[in-house]
């Protein structure tokens, strides 16, 4: 019998570390270019609406647009968590309304201070997520059904919590300031400088460490281009916001959650497992990952973010009423990440897509309002855009399958 030494020298025919140009190009197509496509779509939408009504691209309207997308954007960040594991949460709209109602009632009727009231609202969301996650994992009921039942249940709970009056007006500045605080130009530019510097340091620092360790890294020109692009967007955005009311706190809250969740999904073990469960739950299970634990956490994060979004929406409206969390909110929060490339089938997508997609949807809705279109037309156009986004997702998926990638 032939017994070799454990450390037999490997043949020299192993170019395992050579990163082919084709592979890099593919990653560029999937990463930056996918975002670029959505950004171009946003630019196109803006130009079309601005040609119809020159007020569309005014500083005041763009500031309004940013404020309008905060609630949808925050809820969509949570929706990305469940989309990544290949599930869906239809209760996010109702949960956002209920959480805001809980916060409003304990603040206004029971005299709770803003911080504990907000915390209770978010906890309400988290508890609902835990419940729905456990129902989904324990009884193997499709998430579609669990959260559809949730949608009705939490809508009922919203009416119950609001009581007979049906509306609770928010007056406490600790809550209303969330959506109505604007920072002056100095703070705006300090924020811009800090954001650009931080992004450049993280990007280049990672690049240098990877080079030093001798592992694959994206080419420096691509990284520089990305930093320049981010810098340009930040500077233009801050300049526009400064020429109107200033940098809104609500936008900072949205960005903080987007960046936080982006880091959670791409840089931590939890995020890796989230993608693994969405890609192949069976493979994840065999690798020793607690698949059900990951799923329950995803539902908790989703409902908690729905609560955060609902609280911001209430702060902006200065009230919670029976239609809070209703109307198009649910559909928009789910459509936003899908429009910008997060798959409904699980395992593919990013938190950025929530922000980009919310901007697309917000721009269309804002523009149609500005043109004073009939409700009938607005509904049909919104429906068409959402359908188009899902078709793009399905086509992308079947093309991946044709290439042998599922």
């Amino acid at each position: 019998m032939k017994v070799g030494a454990p450390d037999v020298a490997a043949p020299e025919t192993a170019p395992a570390e050579s990163t082919s140009a084709r592979d890099l190009f593919r990653r560029f197509l999937q990463g930056d270019l996918a975002s670029l496509r959505v950004i171009l779509a946003i630019a196109l939408i803006w130009i079309i609406f601005d040609l119809q009504n020159e007020r569309f691209l005014s500083a005041s309207n763009l500031t309004n647009l940013f404020l309008q997308i905060t609630a949808v954007g925050l809820i969509a960040v949570g929706v990305v968590m469940v989309l990544l594991i290949g599930e869906i949460d239809l209760s996010v709209g109702a949960v956002s309304g209920l959480a805001a109602a809980v916060m409003a009632v304990v603040n206004v009727k029971h005299g709770w201070a803003p911080v504990p009231a907000i915390a209770l609202g978010v906890l309400t969301g988290a508890a609902i997520g835990l419940l729905q996650g456990l129902l989904f994992t324990r009884f193997r009921i499709p998430s579609f059904v669990v959260t559809l039942a949730g949608l009705l249940t939490w809508q009922g709970a919203l009416l119950l919590v609001l009581g007979k009056t049906g509306t609770v007006n928010l007056t406490n500045s600790g809550i209303t300031d969330l959506a109505n605080t604007f920072y002056g130009p100095v703070v705006g530019w300090i924020f811009a400088a800090a954001a650009i510097t931080a992004f450049a340091l993280v990007t280049l620092g990672g690049h240098r460490r990877r080079l030093a360790a001798g592992v694959t890294t994206e080419p420096a020109p691509l990284l520089i281009a990305r930093i320049v692009a981010v810098a340009v967007v930040v500077i233009i955005a801050v300049a526009i916001l400064n020429s109107d009311r200033g940098l809104p706190l609500a936008l900072l809250i949205l960005l903080a959650f987007v960046i936080g969740f982006q880091a959670l999904t791409t840089r931590t073990v939890f995020g890796r497992h989230l993608f693994a469960v969405g890609g192949s739950a069976e493979a994840a299970r065999r690798a020793g990952i607690g698949v059900d634990r990951i799923r329950v956490i995803a539902f908790i994060l989703c409902s908690s973010m729905a609560a955060v979004g609902g609280i911001l929406a209430a702060s902006r409206l200065l009230a919670v009423n029976q239609s809070s969390g209703g109307s198009n909110l649910l559909l928009e929060a789910i459509a936003a990440p899908v429009i910008a490339g997060t798959s409904l089938f699980g395992g593919r997508g990013s938190v950025w897509s929530a922000l980009l997609g919310a901007t697309v949807i917000g721009s269309i809705s804002n523009g149609m309002n500005l043109l004073a279109l009939e409700s009938s037309v607005k509904f049909m156009i919104t429906g068409g855009v959402l359908l188009l986004a899902v078709i793009v997702d399905a086509v992308a998926r079947s093309r991946r399958q044709a290439e042998g990638r599922v």
């Binding site: 490997a10 192993a14 395992a16 360790a213 694959t216 939890f270 993608f275 493979a283 990638r405």
Partner: protein, 256 residues
């Protein structure tokens, strides 16, 4: 002959009325490739699943490196140093090679960010390069999505992943099924390199040409029982086929 790294005595497993395995003895030594062959339903997969802890034995004993051991589940088999690569590979197509290699056993950054269980991508990628180079695995990049790889490359990634836990025994279920000629060659070469690393390798295969190319010994199962154990160098393909089909009962008792 060297001491077997893993040996099992009198393994039996019954599923309802079906006696899937009936008193099978099997040994695998460090630095050898033992091929496990037999017709459909002969008990090959059952045997692998007993050793890898997926099924519990009805009766029978294991010893590992000479010590008697119990295999209570997949985790205890892994802990002993028994790794299994299943036919369906269990890879996540949406993740890259590094992420798949370390799935469920990710490296975590030390320091303040360890509280967030931040991934140490650099360390994982470095170790991936090292492992794949040792095994002479050829893939476009360790950052390729596994879904973009060919069947042979995926098989090699699955085998490489099983080696991260530094096992002493690796079991491969039909590693060359559904592979083309070139890819089959790559996987067979890889199995040869596992032997060079002094691992005990058990390979299930239907393809006798592959078995004869890579195996040192050939273990034949028929209807849940051992139907022969042959040194490859001392047996012809016809004799093995005879043992598999039961046509050549005279060969049954032939031992190396």
């Amino acid at each position: 002959m060297t001491e077997p790294v893993l040996s099992a005595r009198g393994l039996s497993k019954r599923f309802g009325p079906v006696q899937a395995l009936d008193g099978v003895d099997i040994d695998v030594r460090a630095g050898e490739v033992l091929a496990l062959v037999g017709d459909n339903g002969a008990g090959k997969s059952t045997l692998i699943k007993l050793i890898s802890g997926i099924y519990s034995v009805d009766s029978g004993e294991f010893s590992f490196e000479g010590r008697p051991v119990k295999i209570g589940g997949p985790a205890s088999a892994t802990e002993l140093g028994i790794a299994t690569v299943y036919q369906d590979l269990a890879l996540c197509d949406n993740l890259d090679v590094v992420a798949n290699l370390f799935l469920g056993q990710e490296e975590i950054v030390t320091g303040p960010s360890s509280a967030f269980r931040a991934l140490d991508e650099i360390e994982m990628e470095r170790r991936s390069h090292q492992l794949l180079r040792q095994l002479s695995v050829t893939i476009p990049s360790v950052r390729s999505e596994v879904g973009t790889l060919s069947g042979g490359q995926r098989q090699q990634v699955a085998v490489a992943r099983s080696l991260l836990g530094e096992p002493q025994v690796v079991m491969l279920d039909e590693p060359t099924a559904a592979l083309g000629v070139v890819q089959t060659k790559q996987v067979l070469d890889l199995i040869g390199r596992l032997r060079e690393r002094d691992l005990g390798v058990i390979v299930i295969s239907h393809n006798l040409a592959n078995v004869f190319e890579v195996a040192d010994r050939i273990f034949v199962l028929r209807l849940g029982r051992k139907a022969g154990l042959f040194e490859k160098s001392k047996v012809s393909e016809e004799q093995v086929v005879g043992a598999i089909t039961g046509a050549d009962t005279a060969e049954q008792e032939r031992q190396p």
